[in-house]
Point group: C2
Chain length 465, copies 2
């Protein structure tokens, strides 16, 4: 594909669309926006950073870029973990920081209308004040809702509440021609031809720009409780998860974590978890509207864990003690990648296969002589694994890492799992996608890409080649 270049004339036209103050070509700004949070990857400089303030400005920029075949990559808060927002072929990086308004919190319909740049944390606080809850909860709460839509972001609350897709009711999007489309809307049911909205969710900015998001809200649960459960054996922890699900208890979240990740996070934050001497932990969040129900469920979960050999069951029932645990949990990723050279696997398997999958991962680790730390969303089968360089030489690491990554993904696929559960493929993981996707599927995706983006200008080099 031959792409157009950004010359002074193009810059002038971009400047006339978004205003001079919102067009950046200086080295520090380009550098600042050249990467997301994917580990082990070099950034890529855009040629220009454009910050539109409205769907109309997005439309004008896309239409111009489409005419001149200039690549356009979209970026919310740049918290992605697969290089989805990295402009690997240069061109225009469209940053949605200025489109960060909560346009409406519709308490009658239990819905909200957001610009794509709204930061999740800000939004959650705004709705919680009104007794409402936006349950999709990616670990990275500083992410933007537009990015969440782009990757169909998941997170902690998957067990009970599912993922971003489950809360999206409508999208306003702009296709490369500059047409603004309004997909879905404030209705619960919809059966009117092909669901383009669902097709766009998870498409990582390769089909259209998202300029508005209508989300569904639910009632804020009355009370929460967090159980922090140490186990001497990883497998006992994972077996407990299966038992909890088998008994049809659905906690808000069931996270599991190996000791190494706890220790790294404690060190990184200079804070202590209530316990850090066991090999593996479950962190379980329960919710209810009534205290009795909450304690009854907590008891049932404790009993299961104890039967499976839990060393203890620590109960956090004040907001503060719970927040302390979940804050540390939120920092596992950063703690691991800041402290070590580590890659990241985001596979998902059927929930009941977690124990088998973790067992397979340990075998791979042994076979290749590479440590692999695991933690993640045990309750929904979405596990994050960090292969670690530790004391391997550079040569060993570079040789073994792709083998280990591929071996893990192959085992996940054998269990009926995915290469990415919630981070997306971007450019960092796209090479592994064919392990779990057929040639025909990828061929159809390519066909769909040409329908939306015949010039291939949107986020080129992502998802598939």
């Amino acid at each position: 594909m031959e792409y157009g270049k950004i010359d002074n004339q193009v810059l002038e036209r971009l400047s006339s669309i978004v205003g001079e103050a919102n067009l950046h070509t200086d080295a520090p700004t380009l550098e600042k926006y050249s990467r997301d949070e994917t580990p082990l990857v070099e950034g890529s400089l855009p040629d220009a950073v454009v910050m539109p303030a409205s769907p109309e400005e997005v439309s004008e920029v896309l239409s111009l870029a489409n005419d001149l075949k200039i690549p356009v990559t979209f970026r919310g808060q740049g918290t992605g973990l697969s290089c989805g927002a990295v402009p690997i072929l240069g061109g225009i990086l469209m940053v949605f920081e200025r489109m960060d308004r909560i346009l409406e919190i519709d308490e009658e319909n239990l819905m909200a209308v957001l610009e794509p740049g709204v930061v999740l944390l800000v939004f959650r606080e705004a709705v919680e004040k009104r007794g409402l809850f936006y349950p999709a909860d990616p670990g990275e709460r500083t992410s933007a809702i537009g990015g969440n839509v782009g990757t169909n972001a998941g997170g902690m609350n998957g067990v009970k509440y599912g993922k971003t897709r489950d809360y999206i009711l409508g999208l306003e999007v702009v296709v490369p021609s500059g047409e603004i489309l309004s997909l879905g809307g404030k209705t619960v049911k919809r059966s009117m031809g092909y669901d383009l909205m669902h097709l766009l969710i998870g498409s990582e900015g390769t089909l259209a720009a998202v300029t508005k998001v209508i989300v569904k809200l639910v009632k804020l649960p009355g009370i929460f409780m967090t159980l922090y459960v140490p186990f001497d054996d990883l497998h006992h922890a994972v077996d407990s998860v299966c038992d909890i699900l088998r008994k049809r208890i659905t906690p808000t979240a069931i996270e599991f974590v190996e000791r190494d990740a706890i220790l790294l996070a404690e060190e990184h934050l200079d804070r202590k978890m209530p316990h850090d001497e066991a090999n593996a932990y479950l962190i379980i969040r329960l919710e209810a509207d009534k205290e009795d129900d909450l304690y009854e469920e907590a008891e049932a979960v404790s009993e299961i864990c104890t039967d499976r050999g839990a060393v203890d069951v620590l109960v956090a029932d004040t907001p503060e003690t719970q927040a302390r645990i979940w804050d540390i949990r939120s920092n596992f990723y950063e703690a691991v990648v800041k402290a070590r050279v580590a890659d990241l696997v985001d596979a998902a398997v059927p929930p009941a296969k977690i124990a088998d999958f973790m067992h397979a991962v340990k075998e791979i680790s042994k076979e290749h002589g590479m440590r692999i730390i695991g933690y993640g969303h045990a309750g929904d089968g979405n596990i994050h694994l960090h292969p670690l360089k530790d004391r391997l030489t550079d040569e060993e690491w570079e040789r073994k890492l792709p083998q280990v990554m591929e071996a893990i993904y192959r085992r996940a696929a054998e269990f009926g799992g995915t290469v990415s559960g919630e981070h997306g493929l971007g450019s960092a993981k796209k090479k592994y996608a064919p392990i779990a996707l057929s040639k025909e599927e990828i061929e159809i995706m390519r066909g769909i890409k040409s329908v939306f983006d015949p010039n291939g200008i949107l986020n080129p080099g992502k998802v598939f080649d």
Copy 2:
């Protein structure tokens, strides 16, 4: 589009694929499968009815039809209401009655794997025996799961549980080339390129044949209660629905119905509802695991309805009394269309707009001098409206009906609603879709259609032209 014809040679090849006993060309069989349950529409005869028993047979038939450019229409139980399963251009009608096995009920993952011909009622009973619940609940319980996927069927439980899409985790499908694709699977999270599975849900058999369905199950609620609430004024009933939602109470179902529909159903079934003298009714199903919770919620709902002027609140709390009410509810459609000449509107509006929408419908009714009976899923904004011929002359009916239909859809669209909430567009409603879909959206749908089905053999003449 020039389509191929079915001659003796084609029949021989079809027969060799599915077996002679499963290929039908006799007039009574063709006639039997020439229509679904759409009102006011003539049937269309297929040239051959083919009943495959496996994905491989489906694949061989499709591949043959694709080579010869012969139209193929899919049919589950033929309970559709938009002619989705009617072979309007003849060709092959592929009937999934033989592929009706529940392949697996996976109690560990709370999932099930079904062939497309599984009848919903049979499936629900099978899972309920194990304490599990499949919540997507189209009024027509004799429908097949494959058809539910095709239309993204909704139903009664939308308020609390959503629609078919929300319970689909994986599909096995066959595209016209004969390739069998496995989309999605038994994972809760998934972010691997474009979600073809979600694109296929609701595509009414125009992109691929569905040969396997993986669905999510939930825990069967412990106890149910049904409130049957008469109102003298339709608007008070509808206002009560808004109040219930505003107070963040989420019943399993909130149906509303006008008196005329109750009377017709009573007559049709020769059975009595507990009350039939008020102008409008709400039928509200509540569920809980504990009796106290159930009664507490029932009290809150009763209070809201009483405050809004309910004449009475009748409580059905035994399985039998509840079943009697819901059975009659399930027969509204049949009662209306069997007793009268009536068309059917399946619009959905934002839940909080129901009162305004119903008000607009009454205005349209008055303006055109045509009675319009309403009932439906008030809790999720999906209303079924029957314009009735009554004493209009044939000429008046034929002249006024399209005007009334269009006027209703336009008002629904103005409220941010849809032309079809759950029945699909098929051939019966496709002409109204442009009221709520933009030209660009339809153009993109057309592009997607050519990616999947370049020869246009799948269910031609449906969804869009």
